[in-house]
């Protein structure tokens, strides 16, 4: 984090066009060669979905950065961009906090490189599932939906993805530039703030309006965070009954072992997953032997092994973005269990994924004297 005073101010939204305003801001940076490309959500020609697009021509910069939908992990896209090391020119990436947190984890796991990545974090009042967004966006544009969510429109809010309803970190932390909409009249102006020297460099060359709202904004953010923490606590409590062998097997009863949850997870970065490897393949005779031991078993096998094994592999870095749940073709509400497992496991190590780049991932380090009860001493 920068030690100098961050640059903060208001960006006027002309004609209530939120998307256009941010697009113009980004196009300006492109035009001045401050950045070479922008990765931001953009409405697809069909008009019913917004997908991240890598845009490098200022004229083509038609971002829809507030579209309340998260079709794929943006953190994974940054990982793909930087697979072979840092890119040679600067790219601005518009991200929501869950994805920024996932990116922080990927950097710590040495899977992504954020040198030359300018993270532009947007306040997130939540996202809809892909299907819900498709239906909603037929009649309403993203700005309309986003502003309504900011105003906590009851009808819309209850249709958000459960991961978003129970998210307690909707405000970006580890970004270069924050685009804030909580606590300001977002239809008229957005709150911009630099969080790193790179962000400061960019914002200080802009003619931002003095922000008379900084204090009000801070208060509003605290208010939002308080409300969201309560929502998360409610969610965890409601689903605390999913516990015990029978309840857990019932919970995953419709799982078809497609592993979509793993495929879309920003944290599951392995090129080849243990669960798709030959390690769990048994021949026919072994299977019949296995059947004899219990009389019968379900096929395909290893449903519980997959879910619990995956938890052991990724849960300490799980940012609870809920993309797994969104990708589940049989609509298992995965977050109801995953959020509890993540919260408990991360608390054991006093670790919060995405909190800081410096904080080591618990399984990569150890203390000589710790958890001594585990070894029976």
């Amino acid at each position: 984090m920068s030690e100098s005073k961050p640059v903060a101010g208001m960006l006027e939204v002309k004609g209530g066009d939120l998307a256009g305003t941010v697009s113009a801001f980004l196009a300006d940076l492109l035009g001045k060669n401050v950045i070479s490309a922008v990765l931001a959500p953009r409405r697809v020609p069909a008009g019913d979905m917004a997908f991240p697009a890598l845009m490098s021509d200022p004229k083509e910069l038609k971002a829809d950065p507030f579209a309340p939908v998260l079709p794929v992990s943006t953190a994974t896209l940054v990982q793909k961009l930087t697979r072979e090391g840092p890119i040679s020119s600067r790219v601005a990436v518009v991200m929501r906090n869950c994805q920024i947190r996932a990116l922080v984890e990927l950097v710590k796991l040495k899977q992504a490189d954020i040198e030359n990545i300018i993270v532009i974090g947007v306040d997130c009042p939540g996202t809809f599932s892909i299907v819900d967004y498709k239906n909603l966006s037929r009649d309403r544009d993203s700005t309309d939906l986003y502003l309504s969510l900011l105003k906590e429109d009851k009808e819309l809010t209850k249709n958000l993805r459960s991961a978003c309803i129970a998210c307690r970190e909707p405000v970006p932390q580890n970004c270069d530039i924050l685009v804030g909409s909580f606590g300001v009249d977002a239809g008229k102006a957005l709150y911009l703030e630099s969080r790193t020297p790179a962000g400061e460099e960019i914002l200080k060359n802009m003619s931002l309006k003095e922000s008379p709202h900084t204090e009000a904004r801070e208060k509003a953010v605290q208010e939002v965070l308080k409300k969201k923490a309560a929502k998360e606590a409610d969610f965890l409590e409601i689903h605390a009954d999913k516990k015990g062998i029978k309840a857990i097997l019932d919970f995953y009863s419709s799982c078809i072992n497609c592993q979509n949850c793993r495929r879309v997870c920003p944290i599951c970065y392995c090129q080849e997953c243990f669960f798709t490897s030959d390690s769990l393949v048994r021949n026919g005779d072994t299977l019949i032997g296995k059947s004899r031991a219990r009389g019968a078993f379900k096929m395909p096998l290893d449903t519980l092994l997959f879910h619990t094994g995956r938890m052991n592999h990724m849960i300490l870095s799980c940012v609870e973005c809920g993309l797994c749940e969104q990708a589940c073709p049989v609509e298992i509400p995965l977050m109801q269990v995953l959020k509890r497992v993540a919260g408990d496991a991360q608390a054991k190590f006093d670790y919060r994924p995405g909190r800081s780049l410096e904080e080591e991932i618990p399984l990569k380090v150890f203390q000589e004297k710790e958890f001594s009860e585990m070894g029976g001493e």
Binding site: I245, L249, L305, T308, N312, F366
Partner: protein, 141 residues
């Protein structure tokens, strides 16, 4: 007469310490309950949680992981990492309500044949008290 429940325990023993310790127990003719099925691994740190889960879900009543004492790891830090993995795994099982007390991690050196025998006795006794792994009742695992 009804047969007493004999727990089946899968033991992952590190090659350098606990496996050699078990060997010593054998060559010293120390008696211990025959409930453990030993799998030799190169390091306790090499035991992925998935191995333990698979054993439990396929019907093992308990899983034992044996490694070198802290500071004695042949690979310097493997056992410290095993310890953290076990903390994580027990936490996951605890949250899911899947009986984390069916797993043990113990440090047994190559010279501790008696400790190995004592540990096996302790685990077998505890498991007999606890009863069979209830997951064996389910075909839809």
């Amino acid at each position: 007469m009804e047969k007493e429940f004999e727990p089946r325990i899968v033991g992952f023993l590190c090659n350098w310490c606990t496996y050699t310790g078990a060997d010593l127990a054998g060559t010293s003719r120390i008696q211990y309950p025959p409930n453990v099925r030993i799998i030799r691994v190169m390091c306790s740190g090499a035991v992925d949680p998935t191995y333990i889960l698979k054993a439990l879900f396929e019907g093992a009543d308990g899983v034992f992981i044996g490694g070198c004492h802290p500071g004695d790891c042949h690979y310097l830090t493997g056992n410290y990492k095993a310890r953290r993995k076990m903390v994580l795994m027990k936490s996951v099982l605890e949250t899911l309500g899947l009986e984390p007390d069916r797993m043990w991690l113990r440090w047994i050196s190559a010279s501790e044949g008696q400790k190995f025998a004592d540990t096996m006795t302790e685990i077998a006794e505890e498991m007999k008290q606890k009863g069979p792994n209830p997951i064996k009742e389910y075909w839809n695992v």
